[in-house]
Symmetry: C2
Subunit: 115 residues, 2 copies
């Protein structure tokens, strides 16, 4: 087994349309994970992830801080302990409207597997 202190992972490039966002790929294919990848996403106060959609799903979990999920049907508050399932094709964005760091886990399937 591998134990990876998540903050020891170097942040990766963030996607276009993000602000105040850091993303760390803590468990991925390079670590030997065959089916899905775990990323830890930090969003600074007033920051946000891109407002976008794609064909794959997200499974998310709020580790620290409070924020807002934006979707087709409006805005939804999220807080520590909340899990969020974003099905493939759904519009989504995470926004940090608070004065403190928002840290969420965000998992995606292995996009190279066509099944």
């Amino acid at each position: 087994m591998k134990i990876i202190p998540s903050m020891s992972v170097e942040p990766a490039e963030v996607p276009e349309g993000a602000s105040g966002m850091q993303i760390r790929w803590v468990i991925d294919q390079k670590a030997g994970a065959p089916n899905f990848a775990m990323r830890v996403v930090d969003i600074a106060p007033a920051g946000f992830t891109p407002l976008h959609k794609h064909e794959w799903e997200h499974e998310m979990y709020v580790i620290q801080g409070e924020g807002t999920m934006v979707s087709d049907d409006g805005e939804h508050k999220i807080r520590p302990g909340d899990a969020v399932f974003v099905p493939g094709g759904d519009l989504h964005q995470v926004r940090n409207m608070s004065g403190d760091l928002l840290r969420v886990m965000c998992l995606i399937p292995n996009l190279e597997k066509n099944c």
Copy 2:
């Protein structure tokens, strides 16, 4: 999207060989997740998950508390923010040697997909 407060989920039956363990399936196939499932596992002081191995992998993350991962190569301390990758086939167990609750996330692939 679905927002699921993880502690609102009813604990499921725990596997044989566990003690002081609760498991909540917060995102799974019933919620529409096609590729992998998110479970939140609580381990009470002196509690443990089964010492076992299986063909599928785990991706884990320590949310709260301190504990010990047991593997073929000994014992490893885990603390909040640590991610743990357990490849398929590796022996593993989570033990709570502390006086406080240990809460970990534990994800598994969809076992009905043979790919």
